[in-house]
Symmetry: C2
């Protein structure tokens, strides 16, 4: 299992409820891809959302995000963390 | 206090020890700016490092990173988190 940080752009104005709903939608199907979404951080002003997950591949993370309607713009495997 | 997610690019090949050393350097002076660095995630392949911090302003976060020799390319205030 690898940790991934992914980035969504163009989410200007995202509300707290929309972030929660998107996270809930991802979590509802993440098990089918062996992914676990851990945290998300949103900046509605610039429209940037960061998600931290754990999964078998970046493709699996992207499949979850795509199926729930918000594919990521970048997905980076986390090799080091502190 | 606000949470900030910042992004450093161009860190290709960063090692675990280099990440730890950069984080230690930030933490050594963060108190002077009222900032607290909480976590960092590095992807040496794309050269991307994400740092999560808490502080009084994005400028304060950037001052710490600049003084330790690695200014951030983007700093986003986190308004919503899940």
């Amino acid at each position: 299992m690898t940790e991934y940080m992914d980035v969504h752009r163009g989410m200007k104005g995202i509300t707290n409820e929309e972030l929660r709903e998107a996270h809930r939608a991802d979590q509802a199907i993440e098990g089918e891809e062996g992914v676990r979404f851990k945290h998300a951080w949103a900046d509605p002003e610039s429209g940037t959302v960061y998600c931290l997950s754990e999964g078998p591949s970046a493709e699996a993370v992207q499949r979850v995000h795509s199926r729930t309607g918000h594919p990521a713009d970048e997905i980076h495997p986390v090799r080091w963390t502190v």
